[in-house]
């Protein structure tokens, strides 16, 4: 196990005829924030349930090297007659009995719930319940924190607080963070796993994913004048694999970034046109996500 908190090998989970997980293998480094992304029905919640010990895999094996594992479901719910402070207090007393009770108010304050700590949770909005769930999960200092869409129901301020909390947990806890919001994953996760149809179709760092995807390296050229002239000039270059555009923007692709970096400016210099900018075409996680889950 070593530096990995989670090590899963070929996990399969069937519900009757439905194959929810199909040979999933993944490793999560201790202290890292691991993003689990995938379309609806990809198996993210099932995988988190397996890792939390709430579901038994049909096949395969996994080890979790953590004594305190906390889970935040995508829609946390509690007995409506409980008060917010009681939810967090109970969590602390179950996970770390005998702890300093001031930790309860501290985490309620951190999640913006201190003012409503005395209120029954039956009247809480979905966003408040999500904050409360996060408070109850984090108060026990979990070694492994499994967050299922933790920011999905939050307003922008709440979402920012959750992302900040996850960032703060880096190094203290290991976080597995499932989300549809790819910007969030891009912001907080060190590594990601893309789950599609119950299979991990990619696992690694974001940089590796974006760099190593099947799409060829591309540059965007912005010109002052007629871009068609640039397109025509580039089309005859043997190192160019694809060129498109017109107007004031041209996109050019080649077999490698090194070739473009060496040849593009040289080629543009031969054309009588004003060049505003030349920059690599950055590809977002969303682009790559759509590509690998296609």
């Amino acid at each position: 196990m070593g530096s990995n908190v989670v090590e899963a090998t070929e996990i399969t989970k069937r519900y009757g005829e439905t194959l929810a997980l199909d040979g999933v293998s993944l490793s999560v480094r201790r202290g890292s924030v691991y993003g689990l992304v995938g379309p609806n029905g990809a198996g993210k919640t099932t995988l988190l349930g397996v890792l939390a010990g709430l579901r038994t895999p049909t096949e395969g094996s996994f080890t979790v090297d953590a004594s305190r594992v906390a889970v935040l479901p995508d829609t946390p719910k509690f007995d409506p007659w409980m008060k917010a402070r009681e939810v967090v207090d109970l969590s602390l007393s179950l996970v770390l009995p005998g702890s300093d009770p001031s930790a309860v108010d501290a985490i309620l304050d951190r999640t913006g719930l201190l003012k409503v700590a005395h209120r029954r949770v039956g009247g809480f909005s979905r966003g408040m319940l999500q904050r409360l769930g996060l408070a109850a999960a984090v108060v026990g200092n979990p070694e492994l924190l499994l967050l299922d869409e933790p920011a999905a129901a939050l307003d922008p301020a709440g979402r920012r607080e959750v992302l900040n909390m996850v960032n703060d947990l880096r190094g203290e806890s290991t976080v597995v963070f499932s989300s549809h919001i790819l910007d969030d994953v891009e912001e907080v996760c060190d590594e990601i796993g893309i789950l599609n149809g119950g299979r991990i179709v990619y696992e690694g760092t974001l940089e590796e994913l974006v760099r190593g995807s099947s799409r060829l390296p591309s540059y965007r050229v912005r010109v002052r004048g007629n871009g068609d002239q640039v397109v025509d000039a580039l089309r005859v270059c043997d190192w160019v694999t694809d060129v498109s555009g017109g107007g004031d923007t041209v996109i050019v692709s080649a077999g490698s970034a090194a070739v473009i970096e060496r040849e593009l400016v040289r080629c543009l210099a031969r054309i009588d046109i004003g060049v505003v900018s030349v920059a690599p075409l950055e590809r977002s996680l969303e682009d790559v996500f759509l590509e690998v889950t296609r």
Partner: protein, 246 residues
């Protein structure tokens, strides 16, 4: 905050304790009143038709109390217990609990607090019926009442245990309560077989009238089987709910 306090709060804040108390206590009041004034009630509403009713007696009053209190009371006990024991009915709350405590740690306070609440409500209802009967008619046999109450308390604990077992087969609160009540009815039907009756929990229900009327204690076998079935139901629910996926 502990899981024990959680269960006590559940009973108070959901008003379920008051429901249990209201059921048993109201019949504790009505049983002696009805028995004492039955001739007058029948005369007032009989429409001139002469209906013969037995004279008021402590046995009649206590039997009237128990007959009504147990019918509604068992339903109430089953639903109140199911609301606590079928905790997988709310998967998100189940995740909260199951990732923090073992199934034994979760269920033990739920069984205990619900059994105590059911028995306490029944005992209070019986005490009210006893005092009411003593004031309005005559004091029922104290020894018989105490022994019969003890047997019925064991039976109510069995109802809670059976509801817990039912909750390990279905996730819904209503489903668990109805399965439990249905199983009690089946026990009652099997109890129609004379040889089987003495071994069945349902036999304890009949002990109340008989012991208050001065009958002999002949419930050792059904008491033993009820205790064994209760413990077995609880143990089985630990295993079954422990295996259940959330």
């Amino acid at each position: 905050m502990s899981l024990w306090r959680l269960e006590i709060l559940r009973l108070f804040r959901t008003h379920r304790l008051w429901i249990l108390l209201a059921v048993f206590t109201s019949f504790g009041v009505l049983g002696p009143l009805t028995a004492r004034f039955l001739p007058e009630i029948v005369a007032a509403f009989g429409g001139g038709i002469e209906i013969s009713v037995p004279p008021p007696s402590p046995e009649l009053a206590m039997a009237g109390y128990l007959g009504n209190a147990l019918q509604i009371g068992i339903l109430a006990v089953a639903f109140v217990a199911a609301a606590a024991l079928a905790f997988d009915a709310k998967p998100e709350m189940a995740v909260y609990l199951r990732t923090r405590a073992t199934i034994q740690r979760i269920l033990t306070p739920r069984y205990t607090v619900n059994m105590v609440a059911a028995i306490a409500s029944f005992v209070i209802g019986t005490a009210v019926a006893y005092v009411g009967t003593a004031v309005l008619i005559d004091a029922p046999r104290l020894g018989g009442t105490l022994v019969a109450s003890m047997l019925l308390a064991v039976y109510l604990a069995f109802v809670v245990a059976l509801t817990g077992l039912a909750a390990s087969f279905v996730r819904s609160v209503t489903g668990a309560a109805l399965i439990s009540v249905g199983a009690l009815i089946v026990f009652g039907i099997i109890g129609l077989i004379p040889q089987a009756d003495q071994w069945l929990p349902s036999n304890l229900v009949g002990s109340f009238d008989a012991l208050i009327a001065g009958g002999e204690f002949a419930y050792g076998r059904s008491l033993l089987s009820t205790i064994i079935l209760s413990m077995g139901s609880i143990a089985a629910s630990f295993v079954l709910m422990g295996r259940r996926e959330t």
